[in-house]
């Protein structure tokens, strides 16, 4: 019995059709026109309890909209959705007690007060008695490596500490499904890793089902054995991550800083030259040839600095769709 089931999930927004400028504004004021913008089109999938699933896609792909339909914040235009045995948008008490939502750009903690105060409010709202709330806070704080940060005003916490406190607040009532929308947004590499470790840990210990969106490939590779890729509202990939990375990132990006400038043609034999401006060179090299190519580059040129990275997911997906590989 899957814990999340979506069938033919569709959401269409009505947006105001307004021309720019004063004239457009006036015209709009007197004769409102709107058009329908499809955000999510006919998306179906199901997720078993205890899974960690990554939701991937460029900005505006429909990830957040889908997450909002799953958590009951918006009604689907068409299709059915069921989470933890409930229809989300009815927002019944038992449903709300079994889910939680964390959003990277929004916070629920009270800005002027220490997180502990917000946690006490949440404990009361979820009907947890003091002893139980205290036990859970201690347990989660330990997992998150939070100490006296919990008694400092939220406004004085770093972004990473704040996100950890947000996670604590979201998990206090032990939800069985946790939705995360860009939980690592803006965090430094260390804090990102902490958040990921924690999510893996909580999933392992309590069997919480985790569904997260991110456009950091790192989050997805570290956490999600299964990935849903959504683009322009359509679900294009549902399956193991390996398959997707194979399709998405067959190449690594290599950035070189050279001691002496070299022409672009000089690098043609190593990989695809993306850009070459004097000392700075960017190459795309297939993964299976990466180590050999890097070794040769280091031997053949006077390299000041060398950096290997995966191209950003947006870029990869964009390239992929231009090539039409997935479609």
């Amino acid at each position: 019995m899957p814990i999340i089931r979506a069938e033919g999930l569709t959401k269409t927004y009505r947006v105001a059709d307004k021309q720019p400028g004063l004239r457009g504004t006036l015209r709009h004021f007197f004769a409102r026109r709107s058009r329908e913008v499809p955000a999510v089109k006919d998306v179906s999938f199901s997720i078993e309890a205890g899974e960690i699933v990554g939701f991937l896609g460029p900005n505006g792909a429909g990830k957040t909209t889908t997450l909002k339909m799953l958590s009951g914040l918006i009604h689907p235009t068409a299709g059915t959705v069921e989470v933890a045995g409930h229809v989300p948008y009815r927002r019944q008490g038992n449903f709300l007690r079994s889910i939680s939502l964390v959003m990277g750009q929004k916070q629920q903690l009270i800005w002027d007060l220490p997180p502990l105060d917000s946690l006490r409010v949440n404990a009361a709202v979820y009907g947890l008695d003091d002893a139980r709330a205290k036990r859970r806070i201690t347990e989660l704080a330990e997992m998150l490596e939070l100490g006296d940060e919990l008694s400092r005003p939220v406004r004085k916490l770093s972004l990473g500490e704040r996100m950890k406190a947000e996670l604590l607040a979201a998990l206090l009532h032990r939800p069985s499904v946790l939705f995360l929308d860009e939980p690592t947004l803006g965090l430094d590499v260390n804090a990102q890793a902490r958040v990921r470790d924690f999510l893996a840990d909580i999933n392992r210990r309590t069997g919480t089902t985790v569904l997260l969106t991110s456009h950091y490939m790192g989050d997805i590779t570290a956490l999600c054995p299964r990935v849903l890729l959504i683009h322009q509202g359509h679900l294009f990939h549902d399956g193991p991550l390996d398959e997707l990375t194979e399709r998405l990132a067959p190449c690594r990006e290599v950035r070189l800083e050279l001691k002496d400038p070299a022409p672009a043609e000089a690098f043609a034999g190593y990989g695809a030259v993306e850009s070459c401006q004097g000392h700075q060179v960017r190459l795309l090299i297939p993964r299976d040839r990466l180590t050999a190519a890097v070794a040769r580059l280091l031997a053949d040129f006077a390299v000041v600095d060398l950096e290997v990275s995966e191209p950003p997911v947006e870029e990869l997906i964009g390239r992929l769709f231009r090539q039409g590989v997935v479609a």
């Binding site: 009951g72 927002r91 007060l113 949440n122 709202v125």
Partner: protein
């Protein structure tokens, strides 16, 4: 049956505990700014002195205002000051946050809590700075009533209490409906300010206004129910019809505000996408 009772009792306790936490946390947050207390005290005192002075101008040479004596009119002013204090304590801080919630999308967090969202939005904060107004209002009501020769018995006092609660409920409902329109119009600060200014009319007995305005303040914007009707009850000049009417208006407007909130939420699709 017993199960249902036990369940509602547990729910009631949960709301009670939540409210206590709400107010304790907001009090902690507010008390960081002690200077506010002094400022608010001065502002309420100044406003009250101004209104009393203005009122005194109408009463030179033993004149009366629409059949109200000087002390009787002061009772109305007392009720108004009390309501204004309540507004600053609970209504204003909570209902102005609705706009912020809509604009920044944090309304999502409220909607995902297993608690009534209207309750959360209406009771989340408590600002102690309105309390001087409440105290001054009660004081003025009592002093003016005694000087006007009113000696209300326990039954009359109960009526007064009911009427004051009804006024508070009417005011709350009006304000909440207006604040809830932020779901469509996002910026409604101005609208709530207009409401607050219109309610200033409640500083004086409704009888003091020309017939047209009187009808408006009774039927359209129920200012009459807010201050004049409770004041009449205090002075013993009220009637049971008005008591009933007040309670009915209060219940209807509260029900209306709940219906309207449900209606508004159906349009809510949150700010980010």
């Amino acid at each position: 049956m017993a199960k249902v009772v036990a369940k509602s009792l547990a729910t009631f306790r949960r709301y009670q505990r939540t409210l206590a936490r709400f107010w304790a946390t907001s009090l902690t947050a507010e008390l960081e700014y002690q200077a506010n207390f002094l400022i608010e005290l001065l502002s309420v005192g100044g406003n009250l002195a101004g209104s009393v002075f203005l009122l005194s101008l109408f009463f030179g040479h033993g004149r009366s205002l629409g059949g109200w004596s000087w002390n009787q009119a002061l009772v109305v002013l007392g009720v108004y000051t009390l309501l204004d204090g309540l507004t600053s304590t609970v209504l204003q801080p909570n209902l102005s946050t609705i706009v912020t919630h809509v604009r920044t999308g944090t309304l999502d967090f409220v909607l995902l809590k297993p608690i009534d969202s209207q309750f959360w939005l209406s009771a989340r904060t408590f600002s102690p700075w309105g309390l001087p107004g409440v105290v001054m209002g009660l004081g003025l009501m009592a002093v003016a009533a005694v000087r006007a020769g009113a000696r209300p018995g326990p039954e009359a006092l109960l009526q007064v209490a009911v009427l004051l609660i009804a006024s508070a409920v009417i005011l709350y409902s009006l304000w909440f409906v207006l604040a809830a329109t932020s779901i469509w119009f996002v910026k409604v600060w101005n609208a709530t300010e207009v409401l607050r200014s219109a309610l200033v009319a409640g500083r004086y007995p409704v009888a003091a206004y020309p017939a047209g305005l009187r009808t408006f303040f009774t039927l359209v914007l129920p200012v009459a129910f807010l201050t004049t009707v409770p004041a009449e009850a205090i002075l013993g000049t009220g009637s049971s019809q008005w008591l009933l009417a007040s309670v009915v208006v209060a219940v209807v407007s509260l029900a209306l505000s709940r219906w309207f909130w449900g209606f508004a939420l159906r349009f809510y699709t949150s700010a980010s996408s």
